[in-house]
Symmetry: C3
Subunit: 347 residues, 3 copies
């Protein structure tokens, strides 16, 4: 009697699922995260840099926190998912430090059977907590999940209102007031602060990173994400693609690490408005990325930091010097990710 994955019939609106395997995160996770992505943001790399601006020590990379929380939701929400349809309203609301213990829970906020009758869409609001029960992260995602039995009656459809974006008044909660005289551009790798970016500016992040099977599997296991398509070549060899699929959060982490080149002072991902995995990534592919600044916002009562809204587009085997992105209702060849998010920079 092994662990059953939930089918569409197993979800009800209002249901709250506490997810298994609490996780104490450590400097070991930070080192592995570095080895997997090569991120060079100073705040996450150096306790001294962190302390100079008012942090007690280096927090974990935001996307490491996201991936750990996301991983916990997989066995309960998406092990029987046919597709991950989208994210909304992702907010990082409390910094996570080595030694913290992360738990997660999800509330089902919507259900809608699809017209085929074979699947349904589950909307879940997931939260990560630290050992004090404080929320560190929350996000909404919706996934298409198999029905156990096609003959099961459809539930009353309930589609929640999804926030099209996280508004600036909700940003920056994870960041204590900072001492910006302690921010050394030489150390962070850039002198460009918030006001040095313009809405409409596009940046090619230049570098490309080739992904190996061992790397994406180690990452996904580090997140304790057991989704089968990432690990089992024997099964996938007869599957849709014939190959293991790289976990989407790995792509996001790669894109964020690449974005250092151009956004070295974007020290914190504060919110993700929307994310779209345009195409799957497979090992052997080389990931490139570029970003466009689509908005800039002051934060209420914060003279120390400002927010930039970015759309970062990642591609595979295609450099981004010509900024490939949306083409009508479709995307340019090679695009695998479009991520719409808010980062914070020193003012």
């Amino acid at each position: 009697m092994t662990q059953p994955a939930r089918y569409f019939e197993d979800f009800t609106v209002g249901q709250v699922i506490r997810h298994a395997t609490p996780r104490t995160v450590t400097t070991g996770d930070q080192a592995l995260y570095l080895a997997l992505y090569g991120s060079r943001f100073a705040l996450q790399s150096s306790n001294l840099f962190a302390q100079a601006i008012g942090y007690p020590r280096s927090p974990l990379d935001d996307m490491l926190v996201f991936n750990v929380v996301f991983g916990k939701t997989v066995p309960d929400i998406s092990l029987n998912a046919v597709a991950n349809l989208g994210y909304a309203g992702t907010r990082f609301v409390k910094a996570v430090f080595p030694g913290d213990t992360i738990t997660a829970e999800s509330e089902v906020i919507g259900l809608k059977e699809t017209t085929s009758g074979q699947t349904g869409i589950v909307y879940a609001n997931s939260r990560g907590f630290n050992q004090d029960g404080e929320t560190v992260l929350e996000f909404i995602r919706w996934v298409m999940v198999k029905k156990r039995d096609e003959a099961s009656p459809a539930p009353e459809p309930m589609v929640p209102e999804l926030p099209p974006e996280v508004t600036p008044d909700l940003l920056g909660r994870a960041v204590l007031p900072l001492y910006m005289h302690g921010w050394e551009g030489t150390m962070s790798g850039s002198r460009r602060r918030w006001h040095n970016y313009e809405v409409g500016e596009r940046m090619d992040h230049v570098d490309g990173m080739t992904v190996e099977e061992a790397e994406h599997m180690m990452a996904t296991r580090l997140y304790q994400n057991p989704a089968r398509v990432h690990f089992n070549q024997h099964a996938e060899s007869t599957g849709r693609f014939g190959r293991r699929i790289v976990y989407g959060g790995h792509v996001i982490s790669l894109a964020r690490a690449l974005s250092y080149n151009g956004l070295a002072n974007a020290f914190h991902v504060s919110a993700i408005n929307a994310g779209r995995h345009v195409a799957p990534l497979f090992a052997g592919g080389t990931v490139y990325a570029w970003s466009e600044v689509v908005d800039a916002a002051e934060l209420p009562n914060r003279a120390d930091i400002g927010a930039l809204r970015l759309v970062t587009t990642a591609t595979v085997d295609r450099p981004c010097d010509d900024f490939p992105g949306r083409e009508g209702n479709d995307f340019a060849k090679g695009v695998i990710l479009e991520l719409d998010y808010w980062v914070l920079l020193p003012r």
Copy 2:
């Protein structure tokens, strides 16, 4: 003058060999172990979960401890081994925590030249210790080792009596009395406790994990196990298999991690009665596993925990929904490991 590996002639019964390279284990090792196997047992993942049931913090995964101790014995015992013939009497007798320093020694307890006159069997009783000199682990293994010179006279044959199993009265030494009201099934991933399993029950662990060269080599180096067949493709390309062989302890760790699905509350491997590597594993293979409960035992004076004796069978490129295992004196196609061991669960 490089380090010589021992030949059969270099062993004498009663000889005690202290092994080189003491090792301080850390949260870094725990993070790597997670990244390599994706284990989701709550006790080893969360300090809070550990503390709620009476541990000071998360102990290291038992098989990480086993592999570290085993690795130390390799340069002295099995660098010239032709074959690892078996294990017996493996007992985990003290929990190991980050910050502990592990050392190891082996006593030669048996010797027997083989009929070919080219090799001999060495029986060794190996022990791992912590920084206080307390035994954390012991096991017997026997290996076939090359003779330096076929003309050397055979030693007096001495075959030790091998324990066919570890009896229940010897189990549980590594586990302090636990507060089982602190055990949250939601967090551990299962509500099934000791009494919910039946002797004869079979569980397919469902998931498959494909192994990459980079992964098994990183694991085996983490254990400081220098056995050459795992690392040197240049030499192995002209060897028996034409390929590097995955270290057997890596297979055991994979099988244990896969067994979470069905045995989420089996929080501790207390003893290994016997282990058999039925066939070698190579990179590219996908490992599956299933388990059968072959015995259940109460432990003396322990109302908190109970023991299940499991036989876990691992396969390569063959799902385990039909429970492939022994077929007469042989094994079903695809079987690579049969492990007979005791795990502990909360009552």
Copy 3:
């Protein structure tokens, strides 16, 4: 506007460049270093061994420190390099421990345009510091860097005097006085101390280690070294070799780890006189190494330790039992590295 890499015209003699991304090193880095190289030196593996001889705890592996400092210099010095021409005067002057924060700076000490007019040689003296501003490491390297514009006038040529070797009076600064009665040869893996080696002695380190793409990329990212040729198969597939090139520091770390077999008590790399990457290494190659003792030196006022000058030669896909090395002005087939350095051993 992404981060610009410096061209030859951007360097001036006397210029001091502080490099970005300070880095707190941890036990996580130590665990990864072990997993990547399998080093077995006792001082770096065990806090107890370290404390028994007078260290507060295990220091980081010297080559891990070198690679972290080197990685920081890459974005400013060698991102536009055509070739890394050489190293000189590398000295490890202070032990680095988990929790230390490393920063780096480089002074340009020489410039010389090449006769082609397309490139120039930059000589830089780089230093790594700990959180107290103490130098932990320094080295000189010279690289051939592209000019932005061939028409740019050549700077006044300035070629610094390069130390042909680090003299013994400069060795051992990173090593506090040691309690050599605490040095257990059983634990370190060898009873051979400093006086047991002879000048002229050659050692085959025997073992071979095959390198995978995932491994060298994880290592190079751990060092936050963003040099593109190591990571981007899409770009390299049309480059000079058609493949990603393994970072030279990865080869040095491999050779040092292999040298344990023969040099188990060479607990510290104190200085590197010169290093030459004779040929590039690619994933799939198996690295072997051998060493020759070319000098031995007492250290001033140190009765506890002595120095051996080694030339370690690493090869790819070629065992070193016949000591392949220099052949006239060239090197034997398969040689990829010649490293001339000083190690310290207990007396």
